[in-house]
Symmetry: D2
Amino acid sequence: MKPVRDLAEAIQVVFEDMQSHLGAGRVADYIPALARVDPRNFAIAAADCDGHVHTAGEAATPFSIQSISKVFTLTLALEQMGADLWRRVGREPSGSRFNSMVRLEQEHGIPRNPLINAGALVVSDALMTEGDPAATIDRIAGFLRRLSRDEGVDIDPEVARSEGETGFVNASLANFIKASHNLNNDVAKVLEVYFHQCALRMSCAQLARAGLYLAADGVDPWTCERITTSVRARRINAIMMTCGHYDASGEFAFRVGLPGKSGVGGGILAIAPRRASIAVWSPGLNPAGTSHVGALALERLAQLMDWSVF
Amino acid sequence: MKPVRDLAEAIQVVFEDMQSHLGAGRVADYIPALARVDPRNFAIAAADCDGHVHTAGEAATPFSIQSISKVFTLTLALEQMGADLWRRVGREPSGSRFNSMVRLEQEHGIPRNPLINAGALVVSDALMTEGDPAATIDRIAGFLRRLSRDEGVDIDPEVARSEGETGFVNASLANFIKASHNLNNDVAKVLEVYFHQCALRMSCAQLARAGLYLAADGVDPWTCERITTSVRARRINAIMMTCGHYDASGEFAFRVGLPGKSGVGGGILAIAPRRASIAVWSPGLNPAGTSHVGALALERLAQLMDWSVF
Amino acid sequence: MKPVRDLAEAIQVVFEDMQSHLGAGRVADYIPALARVDPRNFAIAAADCDGHVHTAGEAATPFSIQSISKVFTLTLALEQMGADLWRRVGREPSGSRFNSMVRLEQEHGIPRNPLINAGALVVSDALMTEGDPAATIDRIAGFLRRLSRDEGVDIDPEVARSEGETGFVNASLANFIKASHNLNNDVAKVLEVYFHQCALRMSCAQLARAGLYLAADGVDPWTCERITTSVRARRINAIMMTCGHYDASGEFAFRVGLPGKSGVGGGILAIAPRRASIAVWSPGLNPAGTSHVGALALERLAQLMDWSVF
Amino acid sequence: MKPVRDLAEAIQVVFEDMQSHLGAGRVADYIPALARVDPRNFAIAAADCDGHVHTAGEAATPFSIQSISKVFTLTLALEQMGADLWRRVGREPSGSRFNSMVRLEQEHGIPRNPLINAGALVVSDALMTEGDPAATIDRIAGFLRRLSRDEGVDIDPEVARSEGETGFVNASLANFIKASHNLNNDVAKVLEVYFHQCALRMSCAQLARAGLYLAADGVDPWTCERITTSVRARRINAIMMTCGHYDASGEFAFRVGLPGKSGVGGGILAIAPRRASIAVWSPGLNPAGTSHVGALALERLAQLMDWSVF
């Protein structure tokens, strides 16, 4: 099979190929706002370095990006404190579920990486330098608006509230990290920031646009604005590759061959370095908590475009 | 800093840059043949897709490739049994040391991936279809001779014997896997194959040459011989990226940005897809069991050549 | 050596023997009220079934009984809900530290036994049937006053407050149990009860008197009041024997041979079935968190009186 | 219900009560010699300190005592090397299955206690001072003959052979301990001793007689021969209480209230200090690997005789 080399065409092929899979997987139901999403939703958007966004499906419909936000808060934290961040969080795959306590206890409150919940809590804490959750949440939302060039990006207050009401495992993690002296702020404030960043709502089109700096060595290729250094952009990609899908990160690297980060809202952000930033959305999850159809779509697109980094 | 784009020049720069680091790290001393290696040895060889091998240092001196052999036995096993292999071994990072029992018990004898010892034991067993260790060892050695186009590649009998005499952790792993019904052959035979493959002796020049098919979608680019399918070659690279350095795989991806596999003999094989296969050797190890200077050299070379896949 | 059979004499011998050990061990310093206790304090009291309390040292000085309270809340919970309690908490030694998360995660929020922190949190929750922490705390304190026949038993508000301010590991455990649907009440309320029961202040004389029902098949032998059934009293002793000292329970059984429960305030309650209830207090702890001199004193007393159950 | 105080009568009551339970549980089937035992077998024997053995059921039929042998090899090892043994093995409950690797790895090859497989392997090694498995096996068998005053006690060669052929988990444990430098002899020799001690065949009458020294402070009460010191006898009982039934030790203490040790052959030895040594046999096991009917019978007997140590 000859690869399709035209991105617009490939996006269409993927869209059509996915029709027979729609509805597969299991929609997250731990909070009402996620549980009531139609499992047959599907969207894909690829922003390339030349200034185009190619889309198919409901690419303008906002969804809860959940853990995908961890990529952006990591970027912000690295810009703010540089390599000092790595004294508080590691960069190794955890080999465990996204919210596992075991690793955290064995490693004395230093989370394995910034893309599991424990690590993202430390990042949230690191961003809150003034002890003000609302200001920190505004800063994160503002960063996403800037990256996506879209003032419409916002936080879903119902989701944030629900996360707070049901987030006992995250509260357990945060308290454990606090006990290990790896949170500077109050546990409740850190959780407030964390639950709000998880409640960011973005469409695939916005999300693909927002991730473009990671495909272009840290520079927004459409505006030439530098978002982070080249080294940091690549290292964030490296962490996405080894840690972006919890204990199914190896599987995603094996099948798709691109750095990526999934969220339980059914979104995935993937980066084809020097090529494009791609966002997919389909709410049904596989047992590891990654969008089932979303991962299939990315595997297909990477194959059609010959985008695997390997 | 402008990247050096000429590979020969870059190899020289790396060689010079490493001089001040020689002797750093700790030489493996669990068997005499490794313990007596001079810690100041250093070699680098990069085989490119155009038919050149660029070298510096003692690139013709053979060393014990140890766990690097796992990449090649994985290739052989995939050629032999295809995706059936994945019923017996996973492809996720383990988040644990190279020889950890814990994961294995938790996961009922299915090793996390084929690049940790437990996984490589399963691969060794899978290769021994006739129950004959000597024939299987010959087949593995023959594969390396074919890949490196060098009949001089051989197994160090002293190393193989020493591994057998001191390999109690590997014997523990193999017996546990046998108890979990995931070895077909006798434990002693599987260990014999495993200890011999670890005792393969190759120079950096030979090893770089041997790995070239992984940089070229499964085809030896000098002879156009297909070694494995394109998909398998890329997937082996993906596994090297996420699992190639035990519980320091994230660190290697973060710093070097290339798929790689290290051995306790001080060698590392790294793949720059579509560019080159690189072998380095320096016996001093970091605490994770990877060559300290070797990893530095690869980080430097990837930077000079702008070879990070991210 | 012929055993001393007179309890009053034995208590004196123990008191004298301990003089050379006073000050050994490390005083708990995670909260100020514990940290400032003089490490050279020592007290012992043995209440026998015939109506006598024999004491030596500062046996009338109240100290923070901390985890010893778990024995009494367990008794209350068994009286309230009977064997249903065992659906929410196990009765096996944990083989882990008193506050370990690992076991809890592996066993899905069912704590291993009611004498580790996680188990005691479940017991606290079970006692709070009306959702009212203050009433539950009153009930627990009232039970201790009744058992010790002393209205002076009370809760130290400073200790309760300090526990709340520093109790992040307990908050982590409680949130994890809540996430596992094994707490009926709000996490904050459960922690309030738990921190207050840990802050109970009692003297050795009061504590020995309070534990007497466990030495007498569930009946207070001085008043003939039944506190719990005979079977429950013995089973509580069995749990104290196998689980009373966290991951040093085996050591205590091995050396002392009596059911016991220690607290980080330096107290230990031990039961010599059909003979006596013994309380000791010495603030310096061994690495497992049990009073160093207290354990020595109990070992000596058990030996002098030939009280080992084995 | 008034307790039966006559042991002969109690044994009869237990025997009759157990009739309705016969056949419950699951017979061990990992080796043929165990798998073919009739699950409806039942025997009980209680040897008292006055020179009587009371029996019911097939108390003269020999069965494979399996792990019950660990109590006797522990006694021998303590006689041989005293407290030095505790440098090589702990005395804490493991909180894990009988053959778990996890604990062993976490604790660097020092088994948690001598009654789990890993600990018993260390004890077997400690007994083999001359490096001669056959002599060590003879010594163990001879000790059991001496204790039971019966030259008929012997080792079942078929069971020993089967254990060797299927004992991969034990081989895994032994190799791991060897790697941790906690075995002096060859792994194969240690396993040979261990598999033979597990293959000891004894009847309930022989076994009850053999355990009597543990009920009498280390002295055989019928012959006044001292088998071990009083302190050691009591400490062995303490270890049986906290560790005798793997991760169901707490349950046995809770229900029966006596030190005991079970074997997968369906036997249990229990000690009523100062009263009697009791052996039961019924091949069906509960999920923790203890005889289901055997444990019920001991619970009933302890209740009828009021023998709980608590």
